[in-house]
């Protein structure tokens, strides 16, 4: 019989080993899954994990997809550290894009270098405004931010749909539900000509670095961590729960809004009905896979970006549905949660005369 014996402290080696174990298990199960679906398993696996990175634009595509994932996950991870369950980043992303896009459309005729910074600010504000609703409801009425933030995703989607079908529809757009294309002044500059990579990627790296400093070294980061690890101790230490809730939701919403701005300004170039392949939800996986640690999130974001590209690739090459990507994401998170048990527990084989009695 096998039994879990709690460790007195988290095993440091397992913190790094566990994601690797999870990834290995996911690849293994992927093989089995493809075999069940009737494919020679190695081919789609190659197409999923390796092929997207080949070719001249492979890496830039990866970074482009990883940008919103990393930005959003950085914000969410701070909340998750504090037991603030913002799972509505998808909505905050959408409203950020709407705010930024709205500004771009409002100043459609004016060519000013101030427009782009204005859109960044508006994107952040939009995300914050959307996240402020669950923050307010949680601190004022004690309403679970988990359910409210999620419900607001659906509302945000409808807001975007209403705008692109209605008031913001491109007058010359042949009745397609989309806005006008943004002008150059409202488009994020490319980092190098010839690639699609834009200013968003360095912003994501800055966010990673800033979060690393804040969470590890600052009193605010300490407050966030204590609030999650031991809420009663946080109150005892004089850290305000209300403040931590507001702070983490504002950071999470702001970064999600910024991602929405980056996506519509840098990648899409206009508002359309669907502006996200589910970045806000995948970022939840990124946050956990990265151990809620900024550096971990950087790598997890790249891996999850690969799962989007891999999903597209197996769709093209093998005729598999694109949602294989989501399948891999879910599996990876499962295996990670499962292997995390090794961090906090030792697995011990118990051999006593009572071994036949199942206790776990």
């Amino acid at each position: 019989m096998i039994r879990l014996v709690p460790r007195q402290e988290v095993a440091p080696a397992m913190v790094y080993l566990s994601p690797v174990i999870a990834l290995a298990a996911t690849v293994l199960f992927g093989l089995i899954l493809f075999a069940i679906l009737g494919f020679p398993p190695l081919d789609p696996l190659f197409n999923f994990f390796v092929k997207p990175l080949l070719g001249p634009s492979g890496i830039t595509n990866l970074l482009l997809k990883a940008t919103p994932l990393i930005l959003i996950a950085i914000g969410l991870s701070m909340g998750f550290r504090a037991n603030v369950w913002n799972i509505g980043a998808e909505g905050q992303y959408t409203i950020g894009a709407v705010f930024a896009g709205g500004l771009a459309l409002a100043f459609y005729d004016i060519d000013t270098p101030l427009l782009l910074p204005g859109m960044i600010v508006f994107g952040i504000l939009g995300g914050m405004a959307w996240a402020a609703i669950p923050a307010f409801l949680r601190t004022r009425f004690n309403t679970s931010e988990l359910l409210t933030s999620l419900m607001l995703v659906y509302v945000a989607t409808q807001v975007l749909l209403y705008l692109v079908h209605g008031p913001w529809k491109d007058p010359d757009g042949f009745a397609f539900p989309e806005t006008r294309l943004f002008h150059d002044a409202a488009t994020l500059p490319r980092l190098w000509s010839g690639t699609r990579l834009n200013l968003g990627w360095p912003l994501a790296l800055i966010a990673v670095f800033a979060a690393w400093i804040v969470m590890g070294r600052s009193l605010i980061g300490f407050q966030i961590r204590v609030s999650g690890a031991a809420p009663t101790a946080a109150r005892f230490a004089g850290f305000s729960e209300r403040r931590v809730i507001w702070l983490t939701l504002m950071i999470g919403g702001g970064l999600a809004g910024l991602s929405g701005m980056i996506e519509v300004s840098g990648t899409i170039g206009q508002l359309v009905p669907i502006i996200s392949p589910g970045y806000g939800f995948t970022a939840i996986i990124v946050a956990f896979l990265g151990r809620l640690n900024p550096i971990g999130i950087l790598f997890a974001g790249l891996l999850m970006a690969l799962s989007f590209l891999g999903g597209e690739m197996v769709q093209i090459e093998n005729g598999l549905p694109r949602s294989v990507g989501g399948l891999f994401q879910g599996m990876l998170l499962f295996f990670l949660l499962a292997s995390d048990v090794l961090m906090n527990y030792r697995i011990v084989r118990v051999r006593t005369k009572h071994a036949q009695v199942a206790t776990s």
């Binding site: 004690n142 679970s144 359910l147 209605g166 598999l320 549905p321 994401q329 998170l333 499962a338 527990y345």
Partner: protein
């Protein structure tokens, strides 16, 4: 508004409420045992897709419904192993279940997308079904409508009147006490999780076999989350779950009918209505913190690790 229209609206409310009621009834039992499973949406999608697949493959609706129930329960056990045996975080595991279920159901459902299938058969009683008003309200629904109400009443009796129900509530109230007295906390919770999964599977089947009889990716459209909110709304009481499900069913139907009366509201606003209503209801209920605390199972969301 004529009587016939009113009755037909009520009939559609009953249909719309049924998946919510099925899923919420299952999750109520899960939560009463002290486990928060946020994977309802994923389990519903698994039920929806396997229900369609089995119905199309066997050409038998009953096989479809049973498959959905079994698939929902089996799928919930992945979550069960994670949180009960491996003691993983319940919130993260539930989210993972939903994300995984969304992906897996899409992959399984690819060959079936858009294939039409026969709606679930309805229950008609001779003569009685033709009664005015009562006839269409009581009869002519598909079998899962009756199952949903029957299961809810059964759960209400189980929780409040039966000994096993008392044990289940006790486990959700204090797993340490229940363990000390000698109850198999983990086994009881596995049962509750599997029941929740089975009911979510049935809820998914009702969507894909009765409400809109075909498979489409992500077709549950957040109903699993609304079911979760319903339980908070109902303060963990079975009969209030019933009332809540029909209330939410009514809100869902309202969006379809308001436009019919020529009220000039953008359709997107109406589509957002059920989600907005959920937020508002949650605010009203949770602002009474004392009541939530008294009714919510005290151990909800906490991993149980017996002192070795």
């Amino acid at each position: 508004m004529s009587l016939t229209i009113t009755v037909s609206i009520l009939v559609s409310v009953i249909a719309a409420a049924t998946p919510l009621l099925l899923a919420a009834t299952g999750e109520l039992v899960t939560e009463k045992s002290g486990v928060l499973n946020l994977g309802v949406e994923g389990m519903m999608l698994m039920g929806a897709v396997t229900g369609v697949a089995a119905t199309l493959l066997t050409e038998n609706w009953f096989a479809g419904v049973v498959t959905a129930a079994v698939a929902g329960a089996a799928f919930s056990l992945i979550f069960g192993v994670l949180v009960l045996t491996l003691r993983a975080n319940q919130v993260a595991s539930g989210l993972a279940l939903t994300i995984f279920g969304t992906g897996l159901s899409a992959v399984i459902g690819t060959p079936f997308v858009g294939q039409p299938l026969a709606r679930l058969p309805v229950f008609d009683a001779p003569v009685l079904s033709d009664m005015p008003i009562l006839g269409p309200l009581l009869f002519g629904h598909d079998v899962l409508v009756y199952v949903s109400i029957g299961m809810l009443l059964a759960v209400a009796w189980f929780l409040n009147r039966s000994r096993l129900g008392l044990v289940l509530r006790a486990v959700g109230e204090s797993h340490d006490s229940a363990h000390a007295i000698g109850y198999q906390v983990i086994a009881i919770r596995y049962g509750a999780v599997a029941f929740g999964g089975m009911m979510a599977g049935l809820a998914g089947a009702h969507i894909s076999l009765a409400l809109t009889p075909f498979w489409a990716e992500n077709m549950t459209a957040g109903r699993g989350w609304i079911a979760l909110a319903l339980i908070v709304f109902a303060s963990w009481r079975p009969l209030r779950v019933l009332a809540g499900a029909y209330l939410f069913g009514a809100v869902t139907i309202a969006q379809l009918h308001v436009q019919g009366f020529g009220i000039p509201i953008p359709s997107q606003f109406l589509s957002a209505l059920p989600y907005l209503a959920t937020v508002i209801v949650l605010v009203i209920i949770s602002s009474n913190a004392a009541r939530v605390r008294l009714n919510a199972p005290a151990c909800i969301g906490k991993a149980f690790a017996p002192a070795a």
